[in-house]
């Protein structure tokens, strides 16, 4: 609008009148000059308009949040987070396997202790009731001696296994730290996304959560505090549901 008013300024009107007069009187060179001056006015306006658009674009880009931070996140921190999460899987896997190995190694030792205890129990009872012969006592005595030795050895291995179980729990601390970092990254991305959506003015239609969810895939474990529509809350409800189906 402003430019159009400039175009109609009295100065320009005079120039056009001059041009007309010069053309009518056949003064070609002066008419040419006059025409140049007029087109210069036109060009200046175009440059001003382009300049203004450029400035607006620059401002938009800046306020858009498309600064270094977002590209950092996209280029480095997301792949980094992915690796960290993969490491969480590795650590939990190791911890679970170490714990399972320790338990699997201990169980037969416990069974062995139980069966050995049972095997000498009878002899010991008879000894307590003074129903034992001297040669039987000698055998029992030897059995007891080896039982004590085996017992100590078993217990110390079980102790070591329990220690391994204990140490394996260290994953909780480490994985929590990693997951917390990833959560804060996700929060940052979320904030940036919201800003971009607001700036682009496309706030009219934000889909409801239900619409967005992919209903075809499997959901996996229910996470407390998240959407649990259509799910059961535990084994009791599974049993109720199945018995209502005639199970």
């Amino acid at each position: 609008m402003e430019q159009q008013e400039n175009l109609l300024s009295s100065e320009n009107v005079t120039k056009v009148k001059n041009l007309l007069a010069l053309m009518e009187s056949g003064e070609l060179e002066k008419a040419q000059d006059c025409l140049d001056q007029l087109s210069e006015v036109r060009e200046n306006e175009m440059y001003q308009e382009i300049g203004k658009l450029t400035r607006e674009l620059h401002d938009s880009i800046n306020t858009f949040g498309l600064d270094d931070r977002l590209s950092d996140i996209a280029e480095d921190e997301i792949p980094d987070a992915r690796q960290r999460l993969a490491h969480v899987i590795t650590m939990t896997d190791e911890a679970a396997n170490n714990t399972l190995s320790a338990v699997e190694n201990s169980m037969p030792l416990c069974d062995k202790l139980i069966s050995e205890t049972r095997s000498i129990e009878d002899g010991w009872k008879r000894f307590s009731n003074r129903e034992i012969t001297l040669s039987e006592f000698k055998t029992l005595s030897n059995e007891l001696k080896s039982y004590f030795e085996a017992n100590t050895a078993c217990a110390s291995i079980i102790n070591e296994n329990l220690n391994n179980v204990l140490m394996a729990q260290g994953f909780q601390d480490l994985t929590s730290q990693i997951i917390k970092r990833v959560i804060s990254l996700v929060e940052e991305v979320e904030t940036s996304m919201v800003n971009i959506i607001q700036l682009s003015g496309n706030t009219s239609k934000v889909k409801s959560k239900d619409d967005e969810k992919d209903s075809s895939g499997l959901d996996g474990p229910v996470v407390p505090g998240l959407e649990t529509k259509g799910t059961v809350s535990g084994q009791d409800e599974v049993d109720d549901l199945l018995s209502s189906l005639g199970f």
């Binding site: 699997e104 169980m107 996996g220 474990p221 229910v222 059961v232 599974v238 199945l242 199970f247």
Partner: protein, 130 residues
């Protein structure tokens, strides 16, 4: 009711730790004759050898999922009557109903306890004997 603890059980889960847990729990209940597979695709040919009497399977696995394995088992003349226990993290009502309709014999949601596993196994054998 005498449960045959010598029966051969196939444990199917994509996580080796879960397979180990189930294997240990079963051993604790006296079932020492177990084998493992990491998804339906590897489990099905094992089952088709006819060496197994019982199937414990997860639902969500790469390759063939547990529900499809169950459907294959029920569709196979030789395997159709095999008891199938599903042990899974899937807790959607519609999924539990789907498994029931596909002919599952028991459904356990993760995380579960040794007691739950025992109860469900007892119940399955009770029904088979009855």
């Amino acid at each position: 009711m005498a449960i045959d603890t010598k029966m051969k059980i196939l444990i199917v889960d994509d996580f080796s730790t879960m397979r180990r847990i189930i294997k240990n729990l079963l051993r604790d209940l006296g079932f020492t004759n177990t084998d493992e597979a990491d998804d339906g695709t590897t489990a099905l040919p094992m089952l088709q050898t006819g060496k197994f009497d019982f199937l414990v399977t997860d639902w969500n696995m790469p390759g063939m999922q547990g529900i499809d394995l169950l459907k294959h088992v029920r569709a196979d003349e030789k395997l159709a009557s095999m008891p199938v226990l599903m042990v899974t993290a899937e807790q959607k009502r519609e999924q539990i109903v789907e498994a029931a309709q596909a002919g599952v014999n028991g459904y356990i949601v993760k995380p579960f306890t040794a007691q739950t596993l025992k109860e469900k196994l007892d119940k399955i054998f009770e029904r088979i004997d009855g």
